[in-house]
Amino acid sequence: MSHLLSFTQRAARGGLWFGGALVLIAAIVIGIDVVMRKFLARSIGGADELAGYALAIGTVWSLGAALLDRAHIRIDSLYVRLPMGLRVALDFAGLLLFVGFFALVAWHGWGVVEQSWVAGSRSQSALETPTVIPQALWFLGLMAFLGTGAVIFLDALVALLRGDLGAVVGKIGTRSAEEEVEDEVRDLKARAARDERSIGGERP
């Protein structure tokens, strides 16, 4: 289980990097396009379409990491006041409904991909992209997300069967506002300390 989990975590992080790189490339291409249009009266053409694909594909490939890191918003005003057992039940329900909803999206998403393939449809733009290409990458990302969801579920289930409720909360509970902020603060503090050092180095 732990091998599978750590593989999933590494893969999910790879998904974030992949998505982030797509977004950065899209920003650079669009930025260049704006400047060219203004000063050279010329356009790359289709940059907006490609940026849209980057968002769609980047999003689904990052969904799993967001789930692993418990970044999906849950409203926990009432939840934090409930007894532990009930909370864990809600954690499992939340996980199943979230993954289930996107499983349904993927199920119907396959129809979209299939139809583009059968009809050989192309985007209505200068690029005339065969739409099946970005859609297939999007669909694959959804599949990868479902896999990640399954691993998270199994991992939490194993912890539950061991009777380790604390571990279950750590895996699929809400990040209480405090905990989340603590993480962020630790990050910022570490960064600030690093910055102080480097500023000190620059301006002796």
Partner: protein, 428 residues
């Protein structure tokens, strides 16, 4: 139909089901109960269309821009310069906090990022100069909320997409109210410190030489603001394109400060995509839900219900404001907007309110939601940075600024022109 919908939504959200799943499941349930056709057949097409919507590409761009700036060393330098320029007012550095928040807000689309960034650099100053700790914390929590009012703003993008309102116009409409609100925040500090001089801490002095030397540190935020908002104002770029220019400018600033490394970029990627995936998951589900709600005629029913109440536009406005203030105490802002704006905004438009103006009002309400307990994300951010004492100190210190926000909403309602003037001037 209205009652059942609300009941399902409340149960799902109160049970801490992830918001995206909650909205999606509500859509499926409504379709199951009220529609003769299974509306879920449209899910695939809708999910794909939402996911590659060019307008929404601005969201990851702004998150990425923030992640890069956070690691660029810009905020520390900017704050350092503002500290030298602002200390002559009663309340000293508390005005620097607000000014720094306002300036950072002009480069950032998020209030949490603004409060966290400025809070980190400001927190060390409280004890050094004997400020009232509570009020000092309040300036950061409240000042941070300017992040979504002063453009760019992720919440404005979401509002624009949900209501089909021009995002560039919303941006421009946020500028003047943003500056006024920052001024009012400062005024609030000033008033408190005139009555209680001890709260204002010891004054600091700075030589003109030091002040002038620090000025260049204010240039990077200005460059980013000009790239993002200037390009929109000049009509060179759409909202998404201007966000891309902002990312390029932020890369430039990071490189200028020698912070642009591969590790830094990978960290920025991780933060960006985690947030983007979270937001997009909610939006994909919300789009499906809105489609279902419209298809089964719920929007019409809500409209009819509101009309049957026979409220005057002003009464309607008051009801809506109170509704959001109460909801805002318990809900996170993005989920709140996605769940309510598609229903409430059309009613307000029908009552004769301008979509741009109402957008700015909604943003002010979201700012209020961020600093009202028990669930106010900026309160948690500031308390988290402080790491000691009780969160009550932050809540009490922020309370005066909740009053200031209410005053701002009143001013905006009495003088709608402060929001509407700039977008019109830019169009002419």
């Amino acid at each position: 139909m209205i009652g059942i919908t609300l009941a399902i939504l409340l149960v799902l959200l109160a049970a801490a089901i992830p918001v995206a799943a909650g909205l999606g499941i509500l859509g499926l349930a409504l379709s199951e109960i009220y529609s003769r056709l299974p509306l879920s057949l449209a899910m695939g097409e809708m999910a794909w269309a939402t996911s590659n919507n060019f307008l929404l590409v601005a969201v990851p761009f702004f998150v990425l821009l923030g992640e890069i700036l956070l690691r660029s060393g810009m905020a520390e330098r900017m704050y350092g310069a503002l500290v030298l320029w602002m200390p002559w007012l009663p309340g000293g550095l508390m005005h620097s906090n607000i000014a720094a928040c306002a300036m950072f807000a002009a480069t950032s689309g998020s209030s949490v990022a603004t409060a966290a960034t400025i809070g980190t650099v400001a927190m060390g100053e409280i004890e050094k100069r004997g400020y009232s700790e509570r009020l000092f914390l309040g300036t950061i929590a409240a000042g941070g909320t300017l992040g979504i009012l002063i453009p760019p703003s992720i919440n404005m993008i979401v509002y624009g997409v949900l209501t089909e309102t021009s995002i560039p116009k919303l941006y421009l409409a946020g500028v003047v109210p943003g500056v006024i609100l920052a001024g009012l925040f400062s005024l609030t500090v000033l008033v408190f410190c005139l009555f209680r001089p001890a709260w204002g801490g010891t004054r600091t002095t700075a030589t003109w030489d030091a002040r002038l030397k620090a000025l260049p540190d204010l240039i990077p935020p200005l460059v980013i603001f000009l790239a993002v908002i200037g390009s929109i104002y000049a009509g060179w770029a759409t909202a998404t394109e201007s966000a891309a220019l902002g990312v390029l400018a932020a890369l430039g600033v990071a490189a200028w400060h020698g912070r642009l490394t591969m590790t830094m970029l990978l960290h920025a990627f991780e933060g960006t995509m985690r947030t983007t995936a979270m937001i997009m998951a909610i939006l994909v589900a919300a789009y499906f839900l809105n489609f279902v709600i419209t298809s089964i005629g719920l929007t019409t029913q809500v409209n009819r219900f509101i009309t049957s109440l026979g409220l005057s536009p002003v009464q309607l406005l008051i009801v809506v404001v109170i509704f959001y203030i109460i909801l805002g105490m318990f809900m996170e802002t993005l989920s709140m907007m996605v769940a309510t704006v598609p229903i409430i905004a059309p009613i307000m438009f029908q009552a004769g309110y301008d979509p741009i103006w109402f957008g700015i009002l909604v943003i002010l309400l979201m700012e209020t939601a961020m600093i009202t307990p028990p669930v106010g994300i900026n309160l948690y951010v500031v308390q988290g940075l402080r790491k000691r004492g009780k969160i009550d100190d932050v809540i009490i210190g922020t309370l005066p600024f909740v009053g200031t926000l209410m005053l701002m909403m009143l001013i905006l309602s009495l003088f709608p022109e402060i929001a509407l003037w700039l977008p019109r001037a830019a169009a002419d």
